[in-house]
Amino acid sequence: MKLRIAFIIIAFIFSLGLPGPVFAEKQVFQPYAEQGELEFENTGVYDIDPHKNKNAVQEYKYAIGYGVNSFWHTELEIEAEALPTDDAITPVKATHMEWENIFQLAPKGEYWLDPGVYLAYEAPLINKQVGQFEGKILLEKSIGKITNILNISFNQEVGEGADRHTDAGVSWSSRYRLSRYFEPGVEYWNDFSAITHQLDYNQQSHQVGPAFYGRLTRHINYDIGYLFGISDASPRGELKWVIEYEF
């Protein structure tokens, strides 16, 4: 029975991606691993912008993850994107396969801040694309019913034609733990681009907006939000979501 439900959920999650498929996965990661937890996950981003080459840019990730032990969670993902060209958006295409790992560095609540590390490698599935190493410092602090999470990210492309500059960014989530089923919050996303370039504010991507988190059922978690672009480099709006089935 459990297996049948799992297949239904997976089919539903994958169907979300079919109509069509931003530049980056929009999930603020918590620094925790849950031993023995198996999960199927769909992550998506859809951009809305008056400029043709920035409108309808999409990225989808389909992942299977497992909590190997109490400090290591690993995931294998397929990434599909609809990318911008000079005057249009390409059709959705699977572009990368990613191996993602989260390492919990201390038991939750032992220290003033809960620390973790995220390490991932994206391998290209299409010729002329490059691979990428991604590292994040994950920090979380709960204060009463408010949970604050900070991710500090670094990306480095690898392979032929790769940009040798390291990109950096910051993402923040603060959420009010109203109930297990509904936690309203706010997210801020920033992409500094290459650290050495020291771009102006408007050349960097800055986004902020409301987000909602919680459980739909005992096994299904959601994370959905809408981000407003607050710099010229950002899309005017962006819908983001994460849906996961865990058991």
Binding site: E34, Q35, G36, E37, G67, S70, P107, K108, G109, E110, W112, L113, K141, S142, I143, G144, I146, T147, N148, W172, S174, R177, S179, R180, V186, Y188, Y201, H206, V208, R218, F228, I230
Partner: protein
């Protein structure tokens, strides 16, 4: 410009929240105490554990069943798996005086409370 100002204010608030909270709730030198909750026959023993409020506490969850269990609490913001015949440490607090519910996620009829006073 106004939007940018709002963003900086929100971010500034978020950054300062932890500092303000630390000053209000955490004693300068928090005492720690050990407490044990046993899982046996898919039940929590004792079903009610009383701890001091305002202190960081270590709770040992000792699963004496052969099967894994998950210690879960929305009130305490904790969710930790404890394998069969193994123990885990759960760090909680400092808590305000009150009652905090928890349950076994794999056997949801099994419930307990932690009373901070």
């Amino acid at each position: 410009m106004i939007v940018r100002l709002i963003v900086y204010l929100v971010l500034g608030f978020c950054v300062w929240l932890p500092v303000l909270s630390l000053a209000q709730t955490q004693p300068a030198n928090p005492a720690q105490a050990s407490n044990i909750i046993v899982i046996k026959g898919h039940q929590f023993i004792p079903p009610q554990l009383t701890i001091p409020a305002g202190q960081k506490i270590q709770i040992t969850v000792d699963n004496q069943d052969p099967t894994a269990e998950e210690f879960e609490s929305f009130d305490l913001d904790r969710e930790q798996v404890v394998e069969g015949n193994k123990k885990i440490t759960v760090f909680i607090g400092p808590l305000k005086p009150g009652t905090y519910k928890y349950w076994a996620d794999f056997h949801q009829d099994s419930k307990g409370v932690i009373v901070a006073q």
